[in-house]
């Protein structure tokens, strides 16, 4: 559906499914729920003077999209309480064991051992590199939590600011570009929580990772697959010695962790003596000396998007799928 503002009268343009048309013809069509979003608005084109946001030019008149994948990415969210002042957000955790770090603002994902070996001469792969198909080594870890002023990361605050407000994401959707990824690795059924002992040591059981399920639920963008994953509880709480700062990227109450790794499309995993998959040339770059060490790489940059099913909070990580292509 789309609103069309025409000289004072508002027209609601809607595209109905076959079932919807049938119900309309029978006089039974009832709209029981709807979502609102403003993905089409570029807010950089407006001003925020006086607390009221004004676009310099009227927004475009939109037709109702008929595409099934035309989901709202930035939609309005209806929470169940009026006193939710703080929402948890997702950040990349780079402090837990096996948590991968961004290298020059992007996460590198090696497609094969040859590539991993080559990159190991460039940076510390134990910190900065993901390896496709690997369930025990580095993984990208999303952490949810709240950092706000002096709000502490206590257990009580976790329960009241997150759990009690139904903002704990036990499940998350992960959206991957199906052209580049065959599957996703995430938590197993035995994974429960990450906690911190009295000495400040990490206690976790989320690895090894297992393959997540790809489902037919609609992803927010074309060519993306939807996976759903189960998070692990973030039971890291502030202690008197502030040990938590070594494990968590949040100062305030914490929600969950979501560790992920990826299985890259097998055609993209060919070694340098093989043929480079066409995806590298079509969607990325080939034979690039990106580290200045004389080695050449093919790579594709893509995004991984996660979305909490309870909080509706989302986060995007930039991933560079990289393959050693020769010297």
């Amino acid at each position: 559906m789309a609103f069309q503002n025409k000289a004072g009268s508002i027209i609601l343009d809607a595209t109905l499914t076959d079932v919807g048309r049938r119900h309309l013809s029978q006089g039974k069509l009832q709209i029981s729920k709807f979502s609102l979003g403003d993905d089409e608005i570029d807010y950089s084109l407006g001003t925020n003077a006086g607390g009221e946001y004004l676009l310099e030019n009227p927004p475009p008149t939109l037709e109702a999209p008929a595409n099934e994948t035309a989901a709202i990415i930035h939609g309005l969210i209806n929470y169940n309480r009026q006193d939710i002042l703080l929402l948890p957000e997702y950040k990349l955790n780079n402090k837990l064991k096996n948590a991968v770090n961004e290298y020059q603002k992007i996460i590198y994902l090696s497609v094969n051992d040859e590539t991993t070996k080559k990159i190991s001469t460039v940076f510390d792969i134990s910190k900065y590199l993901l390896e496709s198909d690997n369930s025990m080594k580095n993984c990208i870890i999303f952490e949810s939590g709240i950092s706000f002023q002096t709000t502490e990361g206590t257990e009580k605050n976790q329960k009241r600011f997150i759990h009690n407000l139904d903002l704990h994401d036990k499940y998350l959707f992960v959206y991957l570009d199906s052209r580049f990824f065959e599957s996703l690795l995430s938590t197993s059924l035995s994974a429960t929580a990450v906690r911190m002992d009295a000495a400040g040591n990490e206690k976790s059981n989320f690895q090894s990772l297992e393959q997540a399920k790809s489902v037919t639920l609609t992803a927010p963008a074309a060519n993306y697959d939807t996976y759903y994953c189960t998070s692990v509880m973030n039971n890291i709480y502030d202690d008197s010695d502030s040990h938590q700062t070594a494990l968590s990227v949040f100062d305030g109450p914490r929600g969950c962790f979501l560790p992920l790794n990826f299985i890259v499309n097998k055609k993209m995993k060919s070694k340098s003596n093989g043929t480079a998959d066409v995806r590298y040339s079509k969607f990325g770059e080939t034979s690039q000396d990106i580290f200045g060490d004389g080695n050449k790489y093919d790579y594709v940059d893509t995004n991984v998007m996660i979305e909490g099913t309870a909080s509706a909070r989302s986060q995007i990580a930039r991933i560079r799928i990289i393959r050693f292509s020769g010297t």
Binding site: N78, N80, D83, T150, K159, N164, D166, K170, K213, V215
Partner: protein, 965 residues
């Protein structure tokens, strides 16, 4: 708008045993209502008494304007009354009573008695003393039966009326659009907090050990030290709480959002050093409830009957309302029983001012609960006027008349008993709510140590009644009270028998006031009963009040001593104190002729100023036949009946020739029936059941699950459902658009009925309240055939998913849930499955059903995909909807009989003949043992992709065409 109720004593209705009233008028007939279109409604028509006269005036003789019972009054002429005698009190009554002589004259003989013939004997003509006697007392005279017009006995008149508010649910049912404008009384169940251990405590203990919110309010809002010791111990939890210093109803400021609802957020003055503050209204009270169940040692005793006198009502009723509904839901769960506001007047004022209220409430218990006071029953005709729908669905004034027997206690006996023996009668467990002042303790002190207080209060009341309300000469009465208020017959100067009879039509509610209510609570499972006796003194009233001044929301009882899921039947009784009267006819004498008819001319008498002829008559007691002077006292001044009747003693020249029972009767007025009418005021307390409602505390249904079906992208043949809470799970959700979930089995149907009854909901009403406990479980139901109704899913639960993250419920925590979950199943391909989902909350209350999801996994040559279709509940059972009854498709195969089947046999042909002649000798497939001709075949095609089937029915018919064209 209210329901108007009028109650009439049954002896004021047609056919009663008061024969004189039937003769003179002043009674009611049950007739068809003029508003009625159904012919079933009834109302009462008042038959006014015919006019009579103090002094005889033949022009005022009875000429009935109204259709009276001619069998009763055909031979009546007129009546007259003598001087009333008023006695203020006597050995037999503490109230004044009146004795008024009455004389009834028969229609004078139109036939001279000595010339009676057979015809006049059968006609309504007084032909003899015997006929007069039969006519008066009843009996058969000369084959004609006379019902009589005089009956001995005591008759009561306690007519009164009141306006009863509509029951909320009834008003909704009758007038769905305008019912808010009706005066209604609400009875409902409320579930506000889910405190599992407190709820468990209530479930496991007797109602008497459960927290009574009025006790907590008294201790918290007023003074915990001024209440009864046992109550203080219970409410302070043995001294753990000091309610005088800290109120559990006060909000608390926390650094975290409130568990249920934050009242306000307060930003920090310096964000660098302080955090936001959140105001939680329920933090303290929640802790108290948890502490209550932890620290209360159940006594196992039965719940006491509770009294709420005027002081207690002023102290706690308003606060109870404030903390239940106005400021918020501070009680975990309760039943609310609204009370009608009937108003109150001088009688309630009298009770309050003389501080008789405690004794009144206790007496009501002793009379109507324990039976320590003797109660009687009074038969009333109950006339009600309310709004109803006629056969066309239009509102109309419905009038109904029924008989009702009400129990009552004679308040005179109560007063006498309390005065003479001021120790309470019953020792059944009961107590007053509120302070433990002497006056509260005295009313229920069975030791007698405080009996003097009871005597003082009862004497004060009796004294006021005797000197003011039931006094011939009231001392300093209220402005609206006079001797006539409660004794309208007391103005003897104007008294007449017709006016007395006409009192039946006086203002009904003038002498009746509701003085108290009793809410009887019965546990439907155990049968145990409890009583709350409440004085009719709503908050902010003192003695008198008008119904319109009362906030109906506030005039109610909040019963927190209940168990979750238990049905209690609340019956509300109103106690009306009715100042009525009783009367009797006594000392009846009849006249008989003792001289020739008209034997004495007026000129022969010493009595002057009259004309005509006189007949000598004698009055006698009809039961003995002995001569007896008339109660009219005709010989005494002022000689009321002269010149119609002259006492013979006044005419004889010397004593001994006549008796005072002998009189001279003028002209045709020779038939008399004289008696005394005795009238005495009464004060009775009637018990009127005004409502009975079953109430069950139940949580509200959780939101409908929002289900998105999907298929797992693999060869696993797994379908799944992404389920989330559709609406915010908050308690008050006025935007809910769903109905109560369709029940699927008997237990659910019972709960459905209980929920609707307890929420004043019609079956067509939408839910207005959200779940209080958390939705905790998703139930998944599956059928392998298309359901005809949601009931088909009963017993087809295939899986559950818990939403619970943790459930350590205490004052700081509740059950935390994940508002989303996933459910997956492997299914076979080529078959349709039907799924339905619902949430259960922590109280196992189901949510509305989701639409049915039809799932079919299709294996398209190894490529598997799933079709999902949604069927809303209203579409179930409609039948198959053939959207495309026919469709075109390409020729994909051809049926061709085998060659032998179409081979023509020429074996029997004679080629010498013409073809026409040999036509019948041609045979098709004649040699085959199994010919296909004239047979039917079914060919079934089954899609390997979808599993769908199509049947082709083929008939091979052999037709002959031997035309030569």
């Amino acid at each position: 708008m209210t329901i108007n109720i009028e109650l009439y004593d049954s002896n004021l209705i047609t056919g009663s045993s008061d024969l004189l009233r039937q003769s003179l008028g002043g009674y009611y007939e049950v007739v068809n209502s003029t508003f009625d279109t159904t012919g079933l409604d009834r109302t009462l028509l008042y038959i006014e008494p015919v006019t009579d006269s103090m002094m005889p005036d033949l022009s005022l003789a009875i000429h009935p304007t109204y259709v009276l019972d001619t069998a009763h009054n055909a031979m009546l002429n007129f009546s007259a009354t003598g001087t009333a005698l008023a006695i203020t009190s006597s050995e037999t009554s503490i109230f004044p009573y009146y004795t008024i002589p009455v004389a009834i004259a028969g229609v004078g003989p139109s036939v001279v008695p000595d010339e009676v013939d057979e015809l006049s004997e059968l006609a309504d003509v007084l032909t003899s003393d015997e006929k007069w006697k039969k006519y008066i007392l009843g009996g058969t005279y000369n084959t004609v039966f006379y019902p009589g017009i005089y009956s001995q006995g005591v008759f009561n008149v306690n007519n009164f009326s009141f306006d009863l508010p509509y029951d909320l649910l009834s008003a909704k049912a009758v007038d769905p659009e305008n019912y808010p404008s009706y005066q209604t009384v609400e009875r409902k169940s409320v579930y506000s907090m889910h405190l599992p251990s407190y709820q468990k405590f209530n479930a496991e203990n007797k109602e008497g050990d459960l927290l009574n919110i009025y006790d907590l309010l008294y201790c918290s809002v007023l003074d915990q030290n001024s209440t009864f010791t046992a109550v203080k111990d219970q409410i302070t939890l043995g001294g753990i709480y000091n309610h005088d210093t800290t109120s559990v109803f006060d909000p608390e400021e926390l650094e975290v959002p409130a568990l249920i609802k934050t009242l306000s957020e307060i930003p920090p003055a310096d964000p660098a050093t302080a955090t936001w503050k959140y105001t939680d209204a329920y933090q303290a009270i929640r802790k108290y409830y948890y502490d209550y169940e932890e620290n209360t040692k159940p006594s196992g005793t039965q719940q006491q009957d509770l009294f709420f006198n005027a002081d207690a009502i002023q102290d706690v009723f308003h606060n109870a309302y404030i903390n239940a509904e106005s400021h918020g839901a501070y009680y975990p769960f309760y039943n609310k029983i609204g009370l009608p506001a009937f108003g109150s007047g001088p009688l309630n004022e009298l009770i309050v001012e003389t501080e008789f209220d405690n004794l009144l409430l206790n007496s009501i218990k002793d009379a109507f609960i324990t039976g320590d006071y003797e109660t009687s029953e009074n038969s009333f005709t109950y006339a009600a006027t309310d709004l109803d729908l006629d056969e066309n669905g239009e509102l109309y004034d419905r009038k109904t008349v029924t008989n009702k027997i009400l129990k009552y206690v004679d308040f005179k006996n109560v007063l006498a008993r309390v005065n003479n023996q001021p120790i309470p009668l019953s020792t059944s467990p009961s107590r007053f709510v509120g302070g433990n002042q002497y006056i509260n303790r005295a009313a229920t002190d069975y030791t007698g140590r405080l009996s003097q207080l009871n005597k003082q209060k009862s004497f004060a009341l009796l004294d006021r009644i005797q000197k003011v309300h039931l006094s011939i000469d009231p001392i300093a009465p209220p402005a609206d009270v006079s001797a006539e208020t409660y004794m309208p017959w007391s103005t003897v100067a104007d008294f007449s028998i017709s006016k007395f009879m006409d009192l039946a039509n006086s203002e009904l509610n003038q002498k009746a006031e509701c003085v108290a209510f009793r809410i009887n609570k019965r546990n439907a499972t155990t049968g145990e009963e409890f009583n709350f006796i409440i004085q009719n003194q709503p908050y902010n009233t003192y003695g008198r009040y008008l119904p319109e001044d009362i906030n109906p929301e506030e005039w109610c009882y909040y019963d927190t001593q209940v168990k979750y899921g238990e049905t209690y039947i609340y019956t509300t009784y109103a106690y009306f104190m009715v100042v009525g009267y009783q009367y009797e006819y006594a000392d009846m004498v009849l006249s008989r002729r003792i001289s020739e008819y008209g034997q004495y001319a007026a000129s022969d008498l010493t009595f002057s100023g009259t004309e005509g002829d006189y007949t000598c008559i004698e009055f006698y007691d009809p039961s003995t036949g002995l001569a007896t002077p008339s109660p009219m006292k005709t010989r005494s001044s002022p000689h009321f009946l002269e010149p119609l009747r002259i006492n013979l003693l006044d005419e004889v020249e010397s004593e001994g020739y006549a008796t005072s029972a002998q009189e001279l009767a003028k002209d045709t007025n020779i038939n008399w029936a004289d008696f005394n009418l005795k009238i005495e005021p009464t004060i009775k307390i009637f018990e009127i059941p005004v409502d009975s409602s079953p109430l069950t505390v139940l949580d509200n249904p959780p939101p409908t699950p929002d289900v998105q079906p999907y298929q797992v992208k693999s060869q696993s043949q797994t379908v799944g459902f992404y389920v989330k809470l559709q609406n915010p799970p908050v308690k008050e959700d006025s935007n809910r658009n769903d109905m109560y979930p369709t029940p699927t089995n008997e237990l659910e149907r019972i709960n459905y009925a209980r929920y609707l009854a307890s929420q004043n909901m019609l079956s067509t009403d939408k839910l207005t309240l959200g779940t209080v406990s958390r939705p905790s479980v998703l139930e998944v139901y599956r059928l392998s055939h298309k359901p005809m109704s949601m009931s088909d899913f009963d017993s087809n639960l295939v899986g559950t998913k818990s939403l619970i993250i943790s459930e350590n419920n205490d004052e700081d925590n509740r059950t935390y849930i994940s508002p989303t979950c996933f459910y997956e199943e492997r299914i076979t391909s080529g078959h349709k499955f039907y799924y339905a989902f619902r949430f259960l909350n922590e109280n196992n209350m189901p949510s509305p059903w989701t639409p049915v999801v039809e799932v079919e996994l299709i294996d398209d040559g190894g490529y598997k995909y799933t079709n999902f279709n949604t069927i809303i509940e209203s579409e179930l059972g409609i039948g198959s909807q053939y959207e495309d009854p026919s469709t075109q498709f390409k020729k994909i195969f051809m049926l061709k009989p085998a060659l032998p089947q179409i081979f023509l046999s020429s074996e029997n042909l004679n080629y010498d003949e013409t073809s026409v002649e040999q036509f019948d000798n041609v045979q098709l497939a004649g040699d085959l043992s199994d010919s296909l001709w004239n047979k039917k075949y079914k060919i079934r095609l089954t899609s390997k992709k979808t599993g769908k089937k199509i049947d082709l029915n083929v008939s091979y018919k052999l037709t002959e065409d031997n035309s030569t064209d």
